[in-house]
């Protein structure tokens, strides 16, 4: 079930809010847990059992570990979670690659699966597994590995389960740390102000997703549909820019919806984006894009490996590991690994070569980021190597064959999408956030957001394109 769907907004959410409001505050985490399971099961009727199993086993190991004071049990739990994630995420991909490269290992797969793998079809990933696994690991690391203060009792199953599964963040983050919800979890408060603010933030997120991300996504899709043979440079760049906007407003919109929903339920979920396209270097970019993921990798991988405190060579090795993992977390494909490694290279270069220069010269920094970003997103967005190579070639003017998708198509695209691209550009600047900071309590702000909300619902109702890019994680 998507947040940006009428089913959720007008059926699930009102019913849930009513039930949530009616029960006493202490019972809300139970309602949240059960409701979130229902929410998940509606999208994933079979794998909801996997989620439950991971919850129960994870919690059991947590309690055993805290009771027996044996830390290695926590380590075991973490390894188990990672193994499950790796199996689903990469098992199909790696087996497919093995089969493709001619390994005769087909016999180990069940009937039919070998055929599917040979054709490169992926086994469907359980919804949100990448997100909830990371959240589980965060909990086990934070709560399971630290020394409890005297008199502190272990986290109850209800709190734990509600924290992991709460539907605002279950499927696509933000990746929440337990300390951020610990206080509210015991008796979450549902207030008018929370509903008002949360509703407005949710409406903003929905508008970003439905009114900006979805339509601009059709532009990128149009360019891909035309194919890379004969793709002119101007259309290649136009498509790349469209995708750059699409993935930002798609994911940022979804995160805003999550935060808004959290507020409605009495929780304060962490922010996930902070004007990333205003960054002046990629180091800065990654502190503003998918903030909770960067935080997760820093706290649970980079720092345990030694961070930047163990000498230059170690630092580079740690960065390499983190970025390779970040890449493949986003998808099982060579292009994702390439994407992660590209950022590794850029970040190392920034750290050691031209970082200072970028800090001193803001304009150069902005240009550098804005020019390279579409290229990185193209690598992220196109999984097929042949298509990706052709697209990148088109971007640098080395179109395959004679140019077919050229200036005529480009002009038509500009006419069709020009206003939308301008709106995307404006909304990608710090302006909307500044307006929100200053005028969030004004009535006209509510009117504006309500109008956006209605328009978004209208677009959903007439069945406009409604993909969600980060959904396959």
């Amino acid at each position: 079930m998507l947040f940006s769907g009428l089913d959720f907004i007008f059926r699930f959410l009102p019913v849930f809010l009513i039930v949530y409001r009616l029960v006493p505050a202490r019972a809300r985490k139970g309602v949240l847990f059960v409701g979130s399971l229902v929410f998940y099961a509606l999208g994933e009727p079979v794998y909801v059992l996997l989620l439950l199993a991971e919850l129960v086993i994870g919690y059991a190991l947590y309690r055993i570990s805290s009771h027996t004071r044996k830390k290695w049990i926590m380590g075991l739990a973490i390894v188990l979670e990672v193994a499950v994630l790796a199996f689903f995420k990469f098992g199909a991909f790696l087996s497919g690659e093995v089969l493709r490269l001619g390994g005769g290992a087909g016999w180990i797969f069940p009937e039919g699966m070998a055929d599917a793998l040979a054709k490169g079809q992926e086994i469907a990933l359980p919804l949100g597994i990448s997100f909830y696994t990371f959240q589980l690991i965060a909990f086990l690391s934070d709560e399971g590995m630290r020394e409890p203060s005297p008199g502190e009792r272990p986290v109850s199953f209800g709190s734990f389960a509600a924290y992991i599964t709460m539907f605002p963040q279950l499927v696509a983050g933000p990746i929440v740390q337990y300390r951020e919800v610990r206080e509210d979890m015991e008796a979450p408060a549902m207030t008018l102000r929370g509903l008002e603010e949360g509703g407005k933030i949710f409406a903003a997120g929905l508008a970003y997703k439905v009114l900006l991300a979805n339509p601009v996504g059709t532009l990128f899709r149009s360019v891909l549909t035309a194919g890379v043979r004969g793709l002119g440079a101007e259309n290649a760049w136009l498509g790349a820019i469209a995708y750059t906007f699409q993935i930002y407003f798609d994911f940022y919109g979804y995160s805003l919806m999550a935060i808004g929903l959290g507020k409605m339920l009495g929780f304060s979920l962490p922010e996930n984006f902070r004007e990333p396209y205003s960054a002046r270097s990629f180091t800065q970019f990654w502190r503003r894009w998918h903030i909770t993921l960067g935080r997760w990798f820093r706290e649970y991988v980079y720092i345990p490996l030694g961070g930047s405190r163990a000498g230059k060579a170690r630092t580079i090795r740690n960065l390499l590991i983190v970025w390779a993992l970040t890449g493949i977390w986003h998808g099982a494909g060579w292009n994702f690994l390439l994407w992660g490694l590209l950022f590794f290279v850029l970040l190392v270069l920034e750290k050691n070569v031209y970082g200072r220069f970028l800090e001193k010269h803001a304009v150069a920094g902005h240009l550098y980021v804005l020019l390279l970003l579409p290229v990185t997103w193209v690598i992220f967005g196109i999984s097929d190597p042949g298509t990706l190579a052709g697209y990148l070639r088109s971007m640098v003017g080395l179109t395959q064959g004679p140019v077919l998708t050229g200036s005529e198509v480009f002009m038509r695209h500009l006419h069709t999408y020009g206003a939308l691209l301008a709106a995307c550009l404006v909304c990608a600047t710090p302006l909307p956030a500044q307006l929100w900071e200053r005028y969030r309590k004004k009535v006209w702000m509510s009117l504006l957001l309500f109008a956006a909300f209605l328009f978004a619902c209208y677009e959903l109702a007439i069945g406009s394109s409604n993909p969600f890019l980060y959904f396959r994680f």
Partner: protein, 416 residues
């Protein structure tokens, strides 16, 4: 609610949402009270309406319940009987035997369980059912749509003109549910599947291109051509090189259903400098003169009504074109099939439906002024799926592959 409200604090957003809820509820109740039947139909069809995603970069409003309600209305008023389609169309009651003849020649269909097309006189009952049943009666519709065995065939009055052609190889004839088939088109047959879709029927037929002594022409043949159609026709506009002289009346989302509702269509730019201008097609046809007209529609009609209704709207369009451009050759192009990966992914967007619409299109070809051209054999594999390496989304060709389609049209030109 815990009292976390400061004095003087208002909640405009919540108030607006509350007003929205009350307003929607009010409108719903009003409808239920004043027009309970149509409200009920709407709710039922809305509940089962497919999630109509923007596959083709199109914006397709959910007109499905509207189309069904319209068709039911027309049938109730006696305006949807194919037997009234005009004096020139004679339904042939003895076509059952030719169906039996076809299936026996095919050698595959055991008489007991065969479900080949029952080509008897049109039953208005059937038309009514397909029109009115809509989404509610999926299973019942399927059962009624199922063709009867040709066991009770009548004797033919004439010999079939040739294998695969209709009863006398000349006149149009009709299926049981009122779909017109062309006497000049050769239909391949196969074992049809049992379908329960309200949108289409599997008739076990595949239409071949009109037979004619086509000539191969050069690009200048298209200088006085008009191209009408959807996003695929737009691709032809972009990549054929003919846009300079020919007129392209096409846009993403074009459908004969929406044309029948009076929607304008975009006359695309000749230099590609702008996004074109919206025109009324009939007005444009009255103002200009074309030597040939190419029409491609159906992809965006897959979810509107059913195939018989689709053919009706298409017939209105072709009648208009023939009337306003009597000298022009009219080419009706088949819809390209869908790739294996995308086939059936969205409800109604599958190859059975596409083929059914193509059969309907072919039914209007007379082989003299109106020709049916099917390019699918160029682009599909042996099972009829669009080849995967010529498409990104499973529906549209790559730019580089349009030249083959353009060549196909150049090789199938009617020169008079």
């Amino acid at each position: 609610m815990t009292g976390k409200k400061k004095p003087g604090e208002h909640f405009p957003f919540l108030i607006l949402c509350l007003l929205l809820s009350i307003g929607s509820l009010g409108i719903g109740i009003y409808h239920m009270v004043t027009a309970p039947d149509s409200a009920l139909t709407y709710l039922q069809s809305h509940a089962e309406r497919p999630f109509w995603t923007d596959l083709l970069g199109d914006r397709i409003p959910g007109a499905f319940p509207e189309a069904i309600a319209d068709a039911a209305q027309e049938t109730a008023e006696g305006r949807n009987d194919p037997a009234d389609a005009g004096d020139r169309l004679q339904p042939v009651a003895d076509a059952q035997t030719s169906a039996a003849g076809l299936s026996e020649d095919g050698g595959e269909t055991p008489s007991g369980s065969s479900e080949t097309g029952d080509l008897s006189a049109p039953g208005s009952e059937q038309a009514q059912d397909s029109a009115g049943a809509g989404a509610r009666e999926d299973e019942e519709n399927g059962a009624e749509g199922m063709q009867e065995t040709p066991g009770d065939a009548q004797d033919p009055t004439e010999e079939p003109a040739a294998e695969g052609y209709g009863p006398n190889g000349r006149d149009p004839y009709f299926t049981e549910d009122g779909l017109q088939l062309s006497g000049r088109i050769r239909y391949q047959t196969y074992e049809p599947a049992l379908t329960d879709s309200p949108y289409y029927t599997d008739r076990g037929l595949i239409a071949e291109s009109s037979e004619y002594a086509y000539e191969t022409v050069e690009d200048d043949y298209f200088a006085d051509a008009a191209f009408i159609g959807d996003s695929r026709m737009l691709g032809l506009h972009d990549y054929s090189g003919w846009m300079e002289n020919a007129d392209f009346y096409c846009e993403n989302g074009f459908s004969v259903f929406r044309w029948s509702k009076g929607d304008p269509v975009t006359l695309q730019s000749h230099e590609g400098k702008n996004a074109g201008t919206k025109v009324d097609l009939e007005t444009a046809m009255r103002e200009k003169h074309y030597g040939k007209i190419y029409l491609l529609a159906g992809m965006n009609d897959l979810g509107y009504g059913n195939t018989v209704l689709f053919q009706g709207w298409l017939r209105d369009l072709t009648d208009m074109l023939r009337e306003t451009q009597p000298d022009a050759v009219l080419y009706l192009l088949s819809n390209l099939h869908i790739s294996k990966e995308q086939d059936g992914v969205q409800p109604a967007m599958d190859n059975l439906n596409t083929n059914d619409k193509n059969v309907a299109i072919s039914g209007l070809a007379d082989g003299e002024n109106v020709f049916y051209l099917d390019a699918n054999p160029l682009f599909c594999d042996a099972d009829g799926y669009l080849l995967p390496d010529i498409t990104f989304d499973g529906y549209h060709l790559y730019a580089a592959d349009y030249s083959r389609w353009a060549d196909f049209l150049k090789e199938h030109a009617v020169v008079r």
